[in-house]
Symmetry: D2
Subunit: 414 residues, 4 copies
């Protein structure tokens, strides 16, 4: 048995599941080598069929203890667990709003932690959090840094934590064909049909669909399409910013979006003020809900949300004019609200907003299906980079996307 010279620090890890076709084994071997370690595959059994699981036992070596631990931490995020498991190490938080040093930092994958010899599933899975453990109650859940309170127990180090990465879906007609989401030269019709299928399935099966949207939904003339989807019960949550709501209301009140008449395309020059007048009007009325109740606001996406009890959340940003009364100006409060409202989301459609899409992408667990639509490939790429097999990017134009989506939903409804 020859090993790389000086690689004297050794640990054994095991990997199981669809480790070949989910690319887990190649990834893990990659990381070991890239991080300067070496490996030996001690045992491997490959499932004969796609449905069979596989198993690999890998010896990992590195030149220093620190490097070895770094490597083990890396590959643990991809499901490689040390053979000699032990309980997770808990340390009490000594400062509010900060984890103990060496805290375990979460991924968005299903995670289990070993407490008192038993593996417990971590609740509220979310990336870039700590894991708060109540050892007595045998519960564990993800907690954001700002919410840490003194005395709470958090996991430190990687021991006693195992990650169970999602398998790729295997249906040949799945979203899979859109592996390279950047390409603008793929047939979009098929992809849109699949989004429609997800919407219809969610409605039938009681799933929750979250739309995360930017103002281009309004500018490109998609208000009617989105309004129709809301009315017909295909969208159950809306996360957006001040701009989408403002331009939607501007359109309802003045017929323009950023001063452009959506019906004729004419630019009303003084129309650049319309969005400000719209905000001012709603502030005078006391908010969007009040404006609907008093019959001042009678159409549009926000109107439909109020009328159809679609839970909407408007998160503030530093570029907001106004803002509208419902906008949550405090970004930490907005994050906390978003967290609460994504718990039961089963499908997420992100359209034409980088800021909100990434914010939501940070909060969602890896197993929630996400489709990200933008005409600008860079947004789609950024989302896909956060990568789970469940995120699909579609580089296309917003209005035609919604127009086609409504058409496909119509067809499926019959």
């Amino acid at each position: 048995m020859t090993t790389s010279a000086g690689h004297d620090h050794i640990e054994r890890v095991e990997l199981s599941g669809h480790i070949i076709d989910s690319l887990l084994l190649p990834k893990v071997l990659d990381f070991i080598t890239a991080a300067g370690g070496s490996f030996r595959i001690e045992k491997i059994s490959i499932g004969h069929d796609r449905s069979d699981a596989s198993y690999a036992l890998i010896e990992v070596r590195a030149a220093s203890k620190e490097r070895l631990e770094q490597i083990l931490a890396d590959i643990a995020d991809h499901g490689a667990t040390p053979v000699h498991t032990q309980d997770a190490r808990l340390v009490a938080a000594d400062i509010a709003g900060a984890f103990p040093e060496g805290f375990y930092s979460t991924t968005n994958q299903r995670t289990e932690v070993r407490i008192g010899g038993r593996w417990i599933e971590v609740a509220d899975q979310e990336m870039d959090c700590g894991i708060l453990v109540d050892a007595a109650a045998q519960t564990a859940r993800c907690q954001a840094m700002t919410d840490v309170m003194v005395g709470e127990h958090y996991i430190v180090g990687h021991a006693g934590v195992r990650v169970l990465p999602e398998a790729r879906e295997m249906q040949p007609q799945g979203f899979e064909f859109m592996n390279s989401p950047v390409s603008t030269e793929k047939p979009k019709g098929v992809a849109i049909r699949q989004v429609a299928t997800e919407l219809v399935r969610a409605k039938r099966e009681g799933g929750k669909v979250l739309l995360v949207g930017g103002p281009a939904i309004v500018h490109t003339g998609s208000i009617d399409h989105v309004s129709s989807l809301i009315r017909r019960g295909y969208i159950h949550r809306l996360f957006a910013g001040n701009a989408l709501a403002t331009h939607d209301i501007e359109h309802a009140l003045f017929g323009t979006s950023l001063g452009v008449r959506l019906d004729s395309g004419d630019i009303l020059e003084a129309g650049h003020e319309h969005h400000l007048r719209a905000i001012n009007r709603i502030r005078r009325l006391g908010g969007i809900r009040r404006a609907v109740e008093t019959n001042e606001l009678r159409a549009g996406i926000m109107y439909e949300c109020v009328k159809n009890n679609v839970d909407f959340l408007l998160a503030g940003s530093i570029r907001d004019d106004g803002p509208l009364p419902e906008v949550i100006a405090d970004t930490l409060v907005a994050q906390a609200e978003m967290r609460k409202r994504i718990r039961d989301v089963t499908f997420c459609l992100m359209v034409a907003t980088t800021l909100h899409s990434i914010a939501v992408g940070n909060l969602l667990p890896a197993w929630v299906k996400v489709v990200c639509v933008d005409i600008n490939p860079s947004t789609v790429i950024k989302l896909a980079d956060r990568g789970s097999f469940q995120t699909v990017g579609l580089v296309t134009d917003v209005e035609p996307f919604f127009r086609a989506l409504v058409g496909e939903v119509d067809r499926l409804e019959i």
Copy 2:
């Protein structure tokens, strides 16, 4: 009268037409200053109404004779003509395939030349050509450099040449609103309706519509839309490359485009060979026309072109596989053929091809309306940069564009 020190070389130019609202006067004043000259507006009369023409008499000064001439040449391209006109100066070509030194280089604007005291309109207007004059016959026309023959007379210098720039169109519902074609956040519906209007008008009035298209037309699944437009008589010329025709035929023969099934979106891996097999098949049959005649090719864009007598021109490029027999491999021959076939074109739709769009854009006179559609803003920007008020860019996705265009045409047809 104070002039900039040392600006002793003087010439007077006049400018007329819609010089204020076509931005001609500001442009001309800009160029003079930017080029280091100075000006004095000696006389100006502004039309009271938009329909009235205006007139300006401008004194241009520069520090050297060369600089003055450079300035006069610049502003002449925007319609400023020296007051003291003279006949154009003619020099005989001494070398085949090259103009005499100092040749007048054309714009794509309407141009007149003074020969024997009379102003003659230049035929076959095209940018970056020379003006070939037959003084005896009192005719003038644009000639490409490669076509110059020894002994032909070409205009040298700017004397005796005047350019008559197009006025902007003034209809408020015109294409004008798309001034900043780059923005992807404009309502596309209106723009597409206007393209449909142009197609229907051309059909009614006997205009000729040229489609310049790239392979993304096929990849995005637009074959049926384009086929329908051809069958119904809305497209009269097709300029494309080997790729569009190949993938269209690949789809007709194998149901794939670059190996992707357009109906289901499935990637047939070995399908990457299909385009090559398609080309080979057509070469074996002796060409696209023969393939249609022998009933081997039974659907698609190329099929419809053959069946509906739409004149198609396939120009070669160095990235071509094959190519198909009808592809003109010699780029100079292809240019000459394109030149011939654009003479009567009244509307040009450029979709998803930078190379062919710019090639055609170079050949078309400024007054032919051009709409350029691409999901990549950079192509649209490049076309718009060549700028005439007649060129409109639309940053959108190909398939939804055609789908919506067919829908709008349907509506207008009733």
Copy 3:
């Protein structure tokens, strides 16, 4: 005198300054026609020289009183003032945080208001605000909607307000050549030299330079360049978000940026946690300043800001992890802070951030020079669309930009 049929509502406006070469006259005529009005130029006198001012008296007509007022409002933003001026109309705010209906909405151009027969300059010029007037004290200033208090007097309507648009700069070596900022094919060297000149001039003349930056400054490896500019006194304010500061500190503590080693380019996989550990560390220490004081943070952009008394402002967003203690989570508080700190800014460099750039662009008056640098043309286009002649876009890569900028500054310093 013939006017368009039925255009019976008439008003006279006058326009003065560099109305031809600043394109004001063409713009104003455009808007009138586009908005369905008509015009007659009653008098015009054009400056003979570029340095002379021009003057136009224009009769504007429209079919209804409302349309006429809309038109007058439009063109007023471009400097066209009614001949029969009157005092501005003031209305007391009846609701906190909202303007009276019909409020005058500001542009970012120099503005004067007529109070008691006298023209007063509006202070704190900013777009999309109201104008708060203290008639007794004869003062007026821009006020954001959120800051409105009951009883304050705001201008309503356009009467008594005049806008004095900036003239274009006329130096031939100015930024002007970058008219089409989108094009990535322009020589960048010249543009970068001009940015360097602005930095050196600000330092010499006591100007204030604001850098608005995104995390790509760190990811692309520009920490040393920016640190050097700060140390040498070329940057006086820094506006950024949690991400720039976090990755800068991540690099100082761990040598990585988002887990990528900046010196070797190696990806440390577990490095994805580094940014979170960096934030946690700083939170434990009580903030960036404390981390510098206690010698825990010893290098990087944030370190240099603290050491060199560069005023930094970190504005929060919903995609923030952590965030760092200095980050202002409330977006309205952040806006208010930004407002305060831009008052004396003379030059603003925006690099690689759409969110912060647009936020700052909304606050700056039109006469502050802005250069916006991004490798993604869409950010640059968005900024340029807000358009003043003072905003210049540069589509280029961040690290080479800063590398070249430091080089040019070195050269100018000698």
Copy 4:
């Protein structure tokens, strides 16, 4: 042994090499399933170390003979060879310029064919060709479709052909870190250093470096950088189009590029003619070489090519003005010339040209290292899509790239 119902057509294939970490095994399994087949891994042995090879024996099943053959064809391109090998089947070409039906279509990977029981390496490896076999001489080589002559023997079907895919390079400091070439937020310094290392290595070891370049090299002001690299012996071939050469010569003769002064950034309006005058001048002189010999052309990239015996090839396109005499207008002739001149190329740098980059990418075998540089991500993506592990994309600005590259070469030279 359970198999999918009705999957009665069976074949066994084997796969060897670095099948796990080169992702070959996952890819092959993917293709089988995606194409509707099923598999069973009958035997697998995984190398213990990275340097060890692995081996897998896979049973492939499908519902029909055709489907099975399609699958076998697919996976053969990734190195999976049927266990029961046989000789390649040869068919004589019956038509000039077309392969026999069913011809084997090549990849750009190393390929061997079995003739008379012996495996022979295929020469001139190039994708999308046929394999021409001389059974008597026991030789085989790739042949383009246009070059087929009647009576030549070509391989038909996949039997007797095996593909030997390249392994990924494993050095941790390699180009590998740029896995997601699209991202514009990576540290470029490291990547540029690696390109410099390749140039220096090629010079030392007698490798041949091919530069494929577009006109943005000139527009962005990189003439001096590229000239320096040529003079110092780092570039051995130049493939470009009419535009690069024209604007380079325009700059040498007039100091402008497309009318923009590269030193000051001033736009010389009439400068738009300069490129045409440059072409005309060179045509009058009889070509670029003659212009250098007669001392009319005294600087620039083309000048340096002539002076330093760098073999340059200018390929024509339909958007060319002129063109210059050295431009090969016939695209098939240009392809044939390119083919000849890439045979000994060891490193290829593609800068700012989609057309020429893809054309060259089509011709190069997979094992030649390619770095593709463009500020537009879409070009880089297109190149990377043709995917071999040897192609690296760099989204960055051209001039700073070359400036930094020259700097790195300087450093390495010492």
